[in-house]
Symmetry: none
Subunit: 417 residues, 2 copies
């Protein structure tokens, strides 16, 4: 039997756009790890009627309902009352919870407790209390024939502590959960989402365990393989089989997995091959340097970078002949090759990367044909190797896309892909 779980976030502040709710992400990950799937997440304000309505529907359709927020001491904290109403119970005072709340206040240096805090020692009759040593709001679990409602605070640090210490162990025991979900992400750059969908669409549509899904970022597409299994070894095997199929169809596309970044992978390859790199970039505006600088290998592989947006800068910092630029244009294969060769010899790096394109800030009128950027690498052979890349759109995206494409071209050349 598949246990259906859902999440209810309670608090008007969540609906006013004042805070970004990061709790859901954490709770979803924790539940996934024990094989529980979140089917719905509902956010509702501090309104008794709406909280009760949402709670009742959730309790009727899902065996596990987790609520966050609304269990503080103030008037608009209503979760406690509404869980009691939705499950037909009274609220009862728990002296041991009150003792704990008082102890917390004393440990924080308060000598008196606001009468409101007494409210936090009430929980629905028959509920299992969740003691909260890291805050003043205890949680509670109501367990009846429909399933469980687990109410914990919305403060992220308290929520995380109680999830780990109490909620997850309780759920594993209560529902005899052994199964688990494991995921692996295969990361791609230099290829669009719809192109990948075209190549592996049948695997996305026809696979149920593991499932395959796509997520597009600027300049990057992630393929996520998610397997459910009784044990880790089976999940790993299911993932490995699907990964092999996908890699067969995208032989050179996948640059890394899970926490890998494209710049991190490029830096590792350079380090492994004992190569160093210098970068001369124009319309990427320093983004390639900035990305590579955030890798742990930066100090040993990066021999220096220049950002030259204009003809003047290309001449003054790199010594590219002005006549060449006038003849071929700033965005040309000739200039990209000179940039790559010159930054390489200036710094003594084994490889030089030159990116020549024109920064276009006229976002209102995108050009008919996408402007071309030339990406050249010097030092791989006797002559620089150069590729073209046409890319238009919003300027901020264009910079990221071209920087990613440059790193991806470098990666492929380095591994001869």
């Amino acid at each position: 039997m598949q246990v259906q779980a859902e999440l209810i976030a309670i608090g008007t502040e969540l609906l006013l756009g004042q805070i970004v709710d990061t709790n859901a992400t954490y709770i979803a990950q924790q539940l996934n790890a024990i094989g529980l799937n979140l089917f719905y997440k509902t956010t509702v304000g501090d309104n008794a009627g709406r909280i009760k309505e949402v709670l009742e529907r959730a309790h009727n359709r899902s065996q596990v309902v987790i609520t966050t927020g609304g269990i503080g001491p103030t008037e608009d904290d209503l979760t406690r009352e509404m869980v009691a109403e939705a499950t037909g119970r009274k609220l009862v005072f728990q002296q041991h919870l009150m003792d704990q709340i008082e102890a917390i206040f004393r440990s924080r240096g308060f000598t008196s407790i606001s009468p409101n805090n007494r409210k936090q020692a009430f929980i629905p009759e028959g509920a299992i209390p969740i003691e909260n040593p890291v805050g003043t709001a205890p949680g509670f679990i109501v367990d009846d024939e429909k399933g469980v409602i687990i109410s914990i605070p919305g403060v992220p640090s308290e929520m995380k502590y109680l999830m780990e210490k109490t909620v997850i162990p309780f759920l594993k025991k209560r529902f005899g959960l052994k199964g688990l979900i494991k995921s692996k992400v295969l990361k791609n750059s230099g290829i669009g989402e719809s192109r990948i969908d075209h190549i592996i669409g049948d695997l996305i549509v026809n696979s149920s365990n593991p499932t395959v899904g796509l997520l597009a970022h600027v300049g990057q597409v992630d393929i996520r393989i998610t397997a459910k299994a009784e044990d880790e070894a089976t999940a790993d095997r299911l993932i490995a089989e699907m990964e092999a199929k996908i890699r067969e169809r995208l032989p050179n596309q996948i640059f890394g997995t899970d926490q890998d970044t494209l710049e991190g992978v490029v830096a590792e390859i350079l380090k492994r091959q004992n190569k160093t790199l210098a970068v001369a970039e124009s319309n990427t505006g320093g983004l390639i340097a900035s990305k590579l600088s955030t890798t742990p290998e930066a100090l040993s592989i990066l021999k220096g970078c220049v950002t030259t947006l204009t003809e003047e800068a290309v001449v003054s910092l790199l010594g590219v002949p002005r006549e060449l630029i006038r003849e071929q244009g700033l965005a040309s294969a000739g200039v990209a090759e000179e940039m790559a060769s010159r930054i390489r010899s200036l710094t003594g790096a084994s490889l030089g990367l030159g990116v020549a394109g024109i920064l276009n800030w006229n976002e209102k009128q995108p050009p008919e044909t996408p402007p071309t950027t030339f990406i050249s690498i010097a030092g791989l052979g006797p002559q620089p190797v150069t590729e073209k890349y046409g890319m238009g759109g919003l300027a901020s995206f264009v910079q990221t896309r071209i920087a990613m494409m440059s790193l991806e071209i470098l990666r492929r050349k380095l591994i001869n892909a």
Copy 2:
């Protein structure tokens, strides 16, 4: 009559804990600005039955329903179909949407379109199409006797663009909304959140209209003033009065407002003062160049930048004497000044910015005393002016903080603050 609004976020990835949903925050703010309150937010996976159920309930209880996500080209994008079903309509093909999708693909340099993308030109019969010039997924609005369902993409940049250009104007007209909430953000850099809280804490605690709130980012603290009023003029007056009080207490701190960025403000000042800039940076790894390159003034103010992480690079690209570095260290006032002066003379810029510090990737063992970075500006007077900045912590934060601090120091020197 109060118009009730709700939001439905569609996508299994939102329930797996893979991404933090920041769209809700933005949409809630936008709706609040025109006096619409969000009563519910529901997140549901890519499952036809559940999407339809959630859509029907929302459409029955709320006059405004906004959905994000699920309108891409892939098989698991189901929003289009389910909105059609929930409102009893057929899907119809719209040639003008297809033309627009094809134009976007051409401008991005693709010569062929995947057949899947044709799906995106279908919308429910009678729906109002929302053209999407910044992405491939058009949105649509179904308007019937119960209210409106507005479906837009989940990609944040596209969602924001369409909210601003189409959805908000549509809602104002459709529901005759006049009441409004207005906000103004005062942006600060180079000063901590707790320090600002200390200076204007009484305004934060005691004000109800307008309210005053703080939001801290890496290297930046935003003060948000939010006023409610019947008309724009009253809201503007309430905000202006509070802004004057805050500016009196933070005379030189506030670098800009609302959509301003620190790099954008610095670029504008340089342009206004007819000055140009060249940058030589070490432990900021190209981030200063990259930030300045994203400003519309970049081509006219930025005369060239170098990123030199190592002694070798400082020598080879800038010609700083090796003895000076050996004597004073890479992170020293002397090296920062040489970097600033030399990048200035190499490029012929009116100002040179030199940032000298050591990249530290040993995140597990942060140093006892935060490492010092020296930030020097050449060209303001006969001698370079130099400031010190001690900053430790996670390396990725440190890069951003030092880049922001360097730009803030430059800003203050430029306006003599």
